[in-house]
């Protein structure tokens, strides 16, 4: 932390500001917390210089009277659990625990996240995992903080377990250009709702895994995903034509697994097939689209032409 570059350093704290910032940006979140306890000048430097920190994933799990936070940075995981206990909060971290009287566990948990985002410039996270229940209080408090601080989460993958309306409110806090993968594990089947599909974060995502929820929206809302796994209530002839058209034209489509409660007979749309398998040429002559159907399950797969029976007729 030498203010001028005139003498060689004998220890880390003698470093000029630029190299020290460089070093501390590589150590990871957990090591930064350890370094804060080593020396007061270093603690002050870390707390006041808005250092860059790479976070690989953040996991937030809320349950009845408790919140679990997990944060991984540079290969090291920090794990905390806040539980309501009497009038206060019991905090477990590592192999230690501490009790805070007259402290709300939700406020305490949100304050920890506030500390992370206020103290550091948090860089792209590979994954943010949220798992909550019916009570949205924690999520709303976190969203209020993000909104007030104008923080946009730059996350590659969001894994969300909760209600659709919670997801609709949470997704706008993610940078739509960074967010590529959506994993939804719904805990309630909502009524017909298009709100999610209208968000940029949905429209720009490339991978979708949606479990348990049966969608009752037009299948066109799913055609842009390169890899998709989802449930539909009903698949019509128009839906099948749309998917075939979309997937054969797309240069990036990979695979889609679509489950449905009801479907028109695919023979009526794709032609008769004894083995319930159809192959169509893609607009790229090197690729073909293979469609398989088995009792309410469709599998669309873009495959290199040499791996299909079409190549035998070339």
């Amino acid at each position: 932390m030498s203010s001028s570059a005139t003498t060689s350093p004998v220890s880390l704290v003698d470093m000029p500001e630029l190299p020290l910032k460089h070093i501390l940006s590589y150590v990871g979140f957990r090591s930064l917390q350890s370094l804060r306890l080593v020396s007061k000048p270093l603690c002050q430097f870390i707390d006041t210089k808005k250092l860059h920190v790479q976070i690989d994933y953040i996991k937030i799990k809320t349950y009845q009277r408790g919140v679990e936070l997990k944060l991984k940075s540079c290969g090291l995981v920090s794990h905390l659990e806040m539980k309501m206990q009497g009038e206060g909060t019991n905090v477990s971290f590592g192999d230690k625990s501490r009790y805070y009287g007259n402290t709300d566990y939700l406020g305490f948990s949100v304050n920890l996240l506030k500390y992370v985002f206020n103290t550091y410039t948090v860089h792209t996270q590979k994954r943010l995992e949220y798992s909550g229940g019916e009570d949205s209080t924690f999520l709303e408090m976190f969203q209020t903080f993000l909104s007030e601080q104008r923080i946009i989460l730059r996350v590659f993958e969001l894994s969300f377990r909760g209600f659709e309306q919670q997801a609709v409110r949470f997704l706008p806090f993610f940078d739509s250009n960074t967010l590529k993968s959506l994993i939804f594990n719904w805990i309630f089947i909502d009524e017909l709702n298009f709100d999610l599909m209208l968000l940029e974060q949905w429209k720009k995502a490339r991978f979708l895994f949606s479990d348990q929820k049966i969608f009752r929206v037009p299948i066109q809302h799913f055609g842009h995903f390169e890899t998709a796994n989802f449930y539909m209530q009903n698949i019509t002839a128009q839906d099948l034509l749309h998917l075939k058209e979309k997937y054969t034209q797309s240069p990036v489509f990979s695979i889609a697994n679509i489950y449905c409660e009801r479907s028109v007979s695919p023979d009526q749309v794709y032609g008769e097939s004894e083995e319930n398998e159809w192959i169509f040429r893609c607009s790229d002559p090197n690729y073909a689209l293979i469609i398989d159907y088995f009792y309410g399950y469709y599998r669309y797969c873009r495959t290199h032409i040499s791996d299909t029976t079409l190549s035998a007729f070339e």
């Binding site: 350093p9 004998v10 880390l12 460089h22 990871g28 306890l37 007061k40 002050q44 920890l112």
Partner: protein, 201 residues
Amino acid sequence: MSVENAPVVDVDEAAIPVEKKMYYRFESNDKKEFRVSELAIQQSETLNRLVEAMGYTSEDVENKPAIAIENIDGKTLKLVFQWCEHHKGEAIPVDDGSVPKIVEIPEFDAKLMDIDNGLLFKLIWAADYLNIVQLLNVSCKKVANMAQGKTPAQLRRVYLLPSDEEDEAAKRAAQEAQDPRAREVEEEFEERKRQGGNSFF
């Protein structure tokens, strides 16, 4: 190319003829002299600007005194020039402000930096002073890697951080500087130490 074979010529120990191309002579603060190729110097923005401003010819290099680098000792400067010679001609990373960067430490650099921590800190300091971007990146990454999985006590030893007594002196200096955040940080620090010497995370 191994670290030992990197073509930095320490004039006092020079036994191998230097290639016939433009080079410059530099002198450390302990009077060690080095010959460094023009291409290698380009890795250092500071030295590159300096030699361009001087406009030396090959004759000038021989006839005029070596360029003095007053803040860096010979042991450190040798490592710096070995690194520059090994990486000469390589593109210099553009700082786009995206920190932390993804930095891989090449095998040559890893061997070059297999040195005691005090010398490594001097190397970082020199890379910063001479503005050698990639050397600064790899050396900072190397020092950062030392923190992995260490307790505060281990970090104190690894990073040669001051003792508690010296911390007290730093505390007084910080208070004297009248930084309004200093006292707050100090109180928080003391509180955490009282609570078991570990942070939440």
